[in-house]
């Protein structure tokens, strides 16, 4: 009884904290403070997923929400500030942001309508739905993996994951199409401590990525989590000024970026020709095929996220290096 009580207190504190943090990070006018609040929000969100018994999502939230996004936002803010101090008039006016009152009301009404609609839908649900978990459990044997989440993501509904990979690639193309970025001045070598830390951390991150990929077959883990940990290694190297050579940035990078989606598409075509259905794996080879798909997906996800961190296409690399 006491356990239930403490668990209830923990959960309600977590829920209230999440709401408060979300509100604060949106309403706060100091952008740096908002980023710190957002990082804290990511941490609590991961704890909430753990409490909801969804460790797979918690792992993804830990890797992307709390880890990479914080670094990404912080670097974006630093670039924004350097643009502002250089006296870019266009950015300054955007930042002042003339609020249009009617638009705000329109937004408020639209959002309230949506919230009401969502609330109605949730209330009108039947109280107990069996869901698809029993169907997944009965076919788990044939999927080639023993973790139900991986079985759904890579086997039963593999096309969802294929489309997710394409979305990531499209996001990068979107960033690249915005044009080049101002290269960060990294002429000063990284301090010794940072250098030593990087030497320790990068192998650890790569090892952890490999572990998460492998463990995904029977426990929470998988390509997206492993890919974002791999990307963190890349981000760390970029941060201390270890930019890849310009030659690597051209064709090899692009090949790694499309490796995951291309393998997926190739697999989809082959399974369609042999098995007669999109991404339908023969049960005896499913385990190996899923591992192959996840490995290539991990490499592509890692490269894509690190390239997103780098920002726009580097026209300036030629004169830079």
């Amino acid at each position: 009884m006491e356990t239930v009580m403490v668990a209830w207190m923990f959960d309600s504190l977590l829920g209230l904290g999440l709401l408060w943090l979300a509100w604060q990070s949106l309403a706060c006018s100091d952008l740096f403070k908002a980023i710190v609040l957002f990082i804290a929000f990511g941490l609590l969100m991961a704890l909430a997923w753990v409490r909801l018994e969804a460790p797979d999502v918690a792992l993804a939230e830990a890797a992307i929400g709390a880890g990479l996004t914080g670094a990404l936002l912080m670097v974006a803010l630093a670039q924004l500030q350097s643009i502002e101090t250089n006296g870019d008039a266009a950015v300054a006016t955007v930042k002042k942001g003339h609020c249009i009152r009617p638009l705000q009301w329109l937004l408020l009404i639209a959002l309230s309508l949506m919230a009401t609609g969502l609330g109605y839908v949730i209330i009108s649900f039947p109280a107990h739905v069996p869901g698809l978990s029993t169907a997944v459990a009965t076919h788990l044997e044939a999927s080639g993996v023993s973790n139900p989440v991986t079985a759904v993501l890579l086997n039963f509904r593999g096309y969802d994951t294929l489309l997710e990979l394409v979305v990531l690639l499209l996001a990068l193309l979107g960033v690249w199409s915005l044009g080049g970025t101002v290269p960060q001045q990294t002429t000063t070598p990284a301090p010794l401590v940072l250098e030593a830390l990087t030497r320790l951390l990068v192998p650890m991150l790569i090892l952890t990525a490999a572990y998460l990929l492998w463990v995904g077959a029977h426990a929470p883990g998988g390509a997206f989590q492993a890919g974002s940990v791999l990307a963190a290694a890349g981000v760390l190297l970029l941060l201390i000024g270890r930019h890849p050579r310009a030659a690597l940035m051209a064709l090899p990078l692009r090949l790694i970026l499309v490796l995951g989606p291309a393998t997926f598409v190739a697999m989809a075509v082959v399974t369609m020709l042999i098995e007669g259905a999109l991404l339908k794996f023969p049960p005896e080879h499913a385990g190996k095929l899923i591992l192959l798909l996840e490995t290539t997906a991990m490499l592509s996800i890692g490269a894509t996220l690190a390239a997103l961190f780098l920002g726009g296409r580097r026209h300036t690399d030629k004169e830079h290096s």
Binding site: L43, A46, A66
Partner: protein, 100 residues
């Protein structure tokens, strides 16, 4: 024993509230960043306690990922955000914010 672990996790969650005060007050960006790092460490501890309480070993993997990636955020701050803050301290808008 399960109650004990959960109670400890609850206590750690409460200490986050104390850290939140530092995030809101500042006064400098480094104060806020260090509070966020402390949150990361606390979250790792909470995850380990929850792993022990629920017997779900996968939560330790989540804690591992947290611990590894918190360092990356800290490096991003030191390398990109902090030098900028120092340079801009001469400018009126920055000093205004630092004096709280």
């Amino acid at each position: 024993m399960q109650t004990f672990y959960l109670a400890l996790a609850l206590f750690l969650l409460l200490t986050l509230g104390a850290g939140m005060w530092r995030v809101l007050r500042g006064p400098t960006a480094a104060d806020r960043m260090l509070a966020a790092q402390l949150f990361g460490t606390t979250a790792v501890a909470v995850l380990l306690l929850l792993a022990q309480a629920s017997g779900n070993a996968a939560l330790r993997d989540v804690a591992l990922v947290f611990a590894l990636l918190a360092a990356v955020t800290a490096v991003a701050f030191v390398q990109r955000a902090w030098p900028k803050q120092k340079q801009e301290q001469e400018q009126p808008q920055e000093t205004e914010r630092d004096v709280d």
